[in-house]
């Protein structure tokens, strides 16, 4: 059964969740990626292993964590290790299949900016910074990005490259001997983009139901390309939507109405 009433945020989270395969080892960023990864765990991927950079491995939080180190992550994890260990043995050690990340800005090759808008020394907006993203973008088997689409977020040129996607495209990652494959998908509230197999430039391969090409073009600063066989994202199933809403309801109750991640 499919649902007909849902928000663009909901379809974004659901479309991102669907990309995670059952049993995958997933290094999860806070915010939208964490919501989508937990939705996957509660629907089609019960054996997914969620790793958070604060140290929990195999976290199964009952409510969404508000911070990357919430106690519920530790309580529900298979094990909790120190932060250096997470980055050394588990991420750099090649045990992570998918890095699931958010971003403030991305470019056509899915490079990521989470550092500054404007000049580095005198920024117009100072963003939080790298966190674990540079190492995740390097070392995870593959990377999935989740963020809302706008021309301010999908820009021609990044003000700052915090974490690398496909650099200047083509076989750039392979030439630089980066261990992971890099971004394989970018999920937004409008569509799903995937890198062209050869040039690695992002291409819209799926539009969410009811979204027109023009909306995507308008919300992208560069001239975005569309795949010749453009698909439509399947509408959320009732199970997906109810599970997501339940999770968000529980989270709201637990955190006193703060936005959870």
């Amino acid at each position: 059964m499919t649902a007909t009433e849902y928000t663009t945020n909901e379809i974004m989270t659901i479309a991102a969740a669907r990309l995670l395969k059952n049993g995958a080892v997933c290094f999860v960023g806070i915010g939208l990626p964490s919501t989508a990864a937990n939705l996957a765990r509660l629907t089609h991927a019960p054996d997914i292993v969620l790793i958070y950079e604060s140290g929990p491995i195999g976290a199964k939080p009952v409510v969404l964590p508000l911070s990357i180190g919430d106690g519920n992550l530790a309580e529900t994890a298979d094990t909790v290790v120190s932060t250096p260990e997470i980055f050394r043995y588990w991420l750099q050690g090649g045990r992570v299949d998918v890095g699931f990340l958010g971003a403030a800005q991305v470019d056509r090759f899915a490079n990521i900016n989470t550092t500054v808008i404007g000049d580095y020394a005198k920024p117009s907006t100072r963003l939080p910074g790298a966190g674990g993203a540079p190492e995740i973008a390097n070392c995870a088997g593959e990377v999935v990005l989740v963020l809302k689409q706008s021309a301010r977020a999908f820009v021609k040129k990044l003000d700052f490259v915090t974490s690398v996607g496909h650099l200047d495209g083509g076989d750039a990652r392979a030439r630089l001997r980066l261990p992971g494959k890099g971004p394989v998908a970018v999920v937004t509230d409008l569509c799903l983009m995937e890198p062209d197999p050869v040039t690695k430039e992002l291409m819209v391969t799926q539009l969410h139901p009811g979204i027109a090409r023009e909306q995507v073009s308008k919300a992208t600063e560069w001239e975005i390309r569309f795949a010749p066989e453009l698909k439509e994202t399947a509408a959320p199933t009732s199970l997906e939507l109810e599970t997501l809403r339940d999770l968000e309801r529980r989270t709201k109750l637990a955190h006193g109405n703060l936005t959870a991640g």
């Binding site: 990357i68 993203a133 703060l258």
Partner: protein, 298 residues
């Protein structure tokens, strides 16, 4: 080696008040690391550093959240070494941004890393190695703006690897659940880089929820032996508004309220004055904070 030197090497932690620990162990101009990865954040100690007017500090912390927003806004810092600066689950750190964007109250030099890098740099510090090595930063702009991130060639394979200098704080400060009467410290839950921060430092202060006769620790528990610590201070609730696993939960409302306090210079200054400078310790801070909450409800 004389016997007095041996005694000196095996120096047990002093169990003392937080006021005395900060007075004796944190000096103007020090490199100070206060660690705790959203869990066990040493807020009480941060407040005491502000209360005692320390300045020109180089502050190191992977996630300079609300605790460093307070120290930076209060004018204690000249430099910040970090890898992610935000108010978790809420948004920006307005005092950090004001210092970086407008030099208020003082210019703040920033040295920016990634988490994998900074956590490795603590490991190198604890290991007394000159630098940490990791697979990162190829293609990133961070090395262009931070000359402490450099690249080396693996002597065996020729692979290009990133290198960052070890962190050796003058003083590291953490909060933990328990200490025993000798000053051995036990912590559990999300451990972050607390152990590494203490072992990397020249001096270390640990605040704890309680001091007990017997830690009743299991083998492999995270224990910092008394002789790795300079001072242990009993400050129940000392990680508030962050959480202490097994003791109390994170006060999410505080983090949310902080956004409104830190957004405005005058409101921030008045908050610091009323809650920190005009109180004599953390217990009094908690009382004044409770009164402010009750007043806001009326």
């Amino acid at each position: 080696m004389s016997s007095s030197r041996l005694v000196c090497l095996f120096h047990m932690a002093e169990i003392t008040s937080l006021r005395e620990a900060v007075a004796g162990l944190v000096r103007d101009g020090d490199v100070v690391a206060m660690e705790g990865f959203t869990h066990l954040i040493p807020f009480a100690a941060g407040h005491e550093v502000i209360r005692q007017g320390r300045n020109n500090l180089t502050l190191v912390r992977m996630t300079p959240d609300v605790i460093y927003d307070q120290l930076i806004g209060a004018g204690c810092a000249k430099q910040l070494i970090f890898s992610w600066g935000g108010n978790p689950g809420v948004g920006s750190l307005h005092r950090l941004r004001d210092a970086v964007e407008h030099d208020w109250p003082l210019p703040l030099e920033i040295q920016e890393h990634g988490h994998g890098d900074l956590s490795n740099a603590y490991v190198a510090g604890a290991s007394r190695l000159p630098f940490a090595v990791l697979r990162a930063y190829v293609g990133s702009d961070l090395p262009k703006h931070n000359d402490k991130i450099r690249f080396i060639e693996c002597p065996f394979t020729g692979e290009k690897l990133a290198a960052v200098p070890a962190i050796r704080p003058d003083v590291s400060i953490i909060h933990a659940q328990k200490a025993d009467r000798k000053g051995n410290v036990l912590l559990w839950g999300i451990l972050g880089v607390q152990k590494e921060a203490v072992l990397a430092a020249k001096r270390a202060i640990v605040t704890v929820e309680e001091i007990v006769d017997d830690l009743k620790a299991w083998p492999n528990a995270c224990i910092l032996p008394s002789w790795t610590i300079s001072a242990v201070c009993c400050v129940p609730g000392g990680a508030f508004p962050s959480y202490a696993h097994g003791y109390y939960e994170r006060d999410n409302r505080f983090y949310q309220a902080w956004d409104g306090i830190a957004r405005d210079r005058e409101i921030f200054q008045s908050w610091i004055k009323t809650h920190i400078l005009a109180t004599s310790n953390f217990a009094e801070f908690r009382r004044v904070h409770g009164e402010s909450l009750a007043q806001a409800k009326q």
